[in-house]
Symmetry: C2
Subunit: 367 residues, 2 copies
Amino acid sequence: MERRSLTLEDVAREAGVSRATVSRVINGVRNVDPAIRDVVREAIERTGYAPNRAARSLVTRRTETIALVISGAGEESDGPAHGDGPSHDHDPSHGDGPDGPHNAFAARVFADPFFGRVVSGVVGFLRPRSMHPVLMVAESAAARKQVTGFLRQGSADGALVVSTHAEDPLPAMLVAEGLPAVCFARPARPVPVSYVDLAHRAGGRLAAEHLLAGGRRGLVTVTGPLDLPAGQERLAGFRETLERSGMPYVPIAEGHFTRESGAEAMARLLAEHPALDGVFVANDLMAQGACELLRERGRSVPGDVAMVGFDDSSVALTCRPPLTTVRQPVERMTAAMAALLQEHVQGTRTEPTSLIFEPELVVRDSA
Amino acid sequence: MERRSLTLEDVAREAGVSRATVSRVINGVRNVDPAIRDVVREAIERTGYAPNRAARSLVTRRTETIALVISGAGEESDGPAHGDGPSHDHDPSHGDGPDGPHNAFAARVFADPFFGRVVSGVVGFLRPRSMHPVLMVAESAAARKQVTGFLRQGSADGALVVSTHAEDPLPAMLVAEGLPAVCFARPARPVPVSYVDLAHRAGGRLAAEHLLAGGRRGLVTVTGPLDLPAGQERLAGFRETLERSGMPYVPIAEGHFTRESGAEAMARLLAEHPALDGVFVANDLMAQGACELLRERGRSVPGDVAMVGFDDSSVALTCRPPLTTVRQPVERMTAAMAALLQEHVQGTRTEPTSLIFEPELVVRDSA
DNA sequence: GTGAAAGCGCTAACAT
DNA sequence: ATGTTAGCGCTTTCAC
C-alpha cells in the first residue's frame, strides 16, 4: 500500500538522464537542452514525482516555510516559578483536557476578527508562491522558547510576529539569535527589527477631521492602551487636530481594545461629560461596546452622538449602526510583512526596515 | 554572523561520546548510562544545540507537522478552462495585488468566528506536543493540487480538512492518494475517511424542546444549506421533535449560513407566517441576521419571538440579545481530529473512524 | 550541456 | 551500553 516514494533517481532512469539533470530541470537552472528538458518534464509528469522536501532542505538550508507567530506578553508563565522543563506550562487551564482550548490566550486571540485579516494577508502573499505559514502561539516564556527553537532547528526560515502586548520579549529574542523576523507594529521598546506599521497619528487626525466636519464640538475619545505606541499615536493625532481647531482640551478614557473596556470607558466619559456629542474610539471592538452603552443610556448614534472607530474590522460592519471608521489595511500590511521577511531570508535585504501604511476613512452610518 | 549550525558531531565531541549516543539521549532511547546521559544533556545545554529538522525528517520519513486545510468546493477554478500549470489561478482577484486578500474565499473564511475555534482546538492539541499546524486554503482545483503535492513531498504527515462546501473533492483526493486525513463533518458523499462530527439531529431536538418548553407554538425554522448533512440533520431533529408534540408541519426557509441569508430567510418566514412566535435558526450567524430583521420589523426577541441559534460561536455573545443556542464543542472536536490524525500517521489506527460529539443547549436571553 | 561524486545532519542497524 | 557505518534524497561543485 505504501509505495516507496519516487526519487530523482527513478525519474532520471525513466528519462534516460542523470539525477543532476533532472534536478536542474526541476529547479529551472539554465544550461539544459530544451529537448532534454521536455523529456524530463514528461517523465516527471508520467511518474507523478514530487521532490522530497527534507532532502532538499537539508542541502539548501532553506525550508521555504515561515512561521506566523501570535505572541503575547509574559503573563502566566513568567511568574516566580521557573526551572521547569520547556514543555511544562503553569497555566492551570492548559493541557489537552476535555475543555478544548489549552489556554485562554489562544481562544481569545483567534476569536478576534483582527486575526482573520492577518492570516488572510499572509496567506494571500504566500500561497501564490506555494508557501504556507506555520501557525504558532507564544504567550508564555516556554512558548517563546518553542518559537526560537523551531527556527533554530531549521523548521522555518523566519518569523512573522504579531504581538498583542506592549512588552512582548519575542522580537528581541529573535534578533538576539540572528533569526529573520518581521513584526506587525513597532515594538514598544526599540529593537533592531523590521516591522510594518500604520500611520496611527494620521488615523487619529482623520477621525478628528470627520467629526469636526460633521459639526460636532463636544468631542471625547476612548483611547487604546497608552503603553502601546498605537494607543498613544492615535490619541496624539486626534488631539493635535482638535487643538489646531481651538479645542486644546479633550476628555479621554483609556480602554484596552476589548468590547467591555470600550463600554466602560464610554460610561465614564458620559458620566463626566453628559453633553458630549462625538467620540473617537481607538478600535472597532471598543466602539461596538461604546455604541451599545450609548444606546442603553438612551443616546442614539449618530443622532445624539457621532462615533468614529478604528481598524475597519468585521465588527465595524456588524455593529448597529455600521461604523464609520479609520481603516487599517491589515491584509496589505501582513502581506508586506511576508514580502519583507522573504527578502531578509533571501539576503536581498539586511538592514531592519520599516514600512508605514496610510489609514483611510471609511464612512458608514455612525458619524 | 551566521554561525554554522551546530551538529550532533559538535555536541558529541563536546561530551566526549559518539554521535549515536547523543542521538539516543535526544530521542530518549533507553540503553543510555544515566551518567553519560547527563553529560550529554549538559553538552547540549552548553552548546545550545538544536537538532536539524530536515536531516531527521529525511531518515525518519516523518515531519511531525500536519496541515490544517480550509477547503471549499470547486467554485472558480473548476470551470471550462483547464490544462494550466499548477501555479496559475483563474480567479481575477487573485495575486498579490494591492488589495490584500488574494481572493474572497480566504477573506470570508478567516472572518468567520468558527474558524478561530477550529484553530484554537487544533493548536490546543498540537502545541503541548511541540507541533504546529501549517495553514492551507484550498478553494480551487489548483489549490487542492497544492495540498496533495504538499503532503506527497513529505512537507506534512497528514491533513486536517475543514470543508465549507458539500461537494468538496479534497477528502476523496487525499484518500485516493493514500494520504492520512481527518475531516470535520461527514463528507456529503461517502468517502472512506475518518471524521469528527456533531450529533446534529440531537441538536435540532434540543432547540425544539427548549422552544416548546417556553410555551411557543408558532414555530418555524431557518435551515442551513440542505445539501449539507449538517443542514438536513439539524432540521430533521427539529421536525421530529415537533412532530412528536403533534406539530407535523413546520414552515422552513433555507439559508446558507451567512448573516444576510439568515435575515432574508427570516423575512420570507415572517411574510408567510406573521403569527410565528418561535424560530430555530441553524447557525448563530444567520440567527444574528434574523434577529436584526425581526427588530427592524418591530418584533422583539425574545418577547414576541423566541430564537434559538446553533454553534455557540462568538456572535452568539455579541448578538443583542445574547443568543440561546445549541453549542457545538468545536475546540474539542478539532482537537480530537488532530489526535485521530496522529494515530493514523503513527499507524496505531488504520481504519477510517468517526467520532460524534454531543451538542449542548446554552441558555441566554433570546429564548 | 551533462554526468559523477561528495556531502548536508541525522537515525538505525549492526558490531563490539 | 556504546561506537561504527551506511544510507535517507537531494543539490552542487567539478570534470568532461
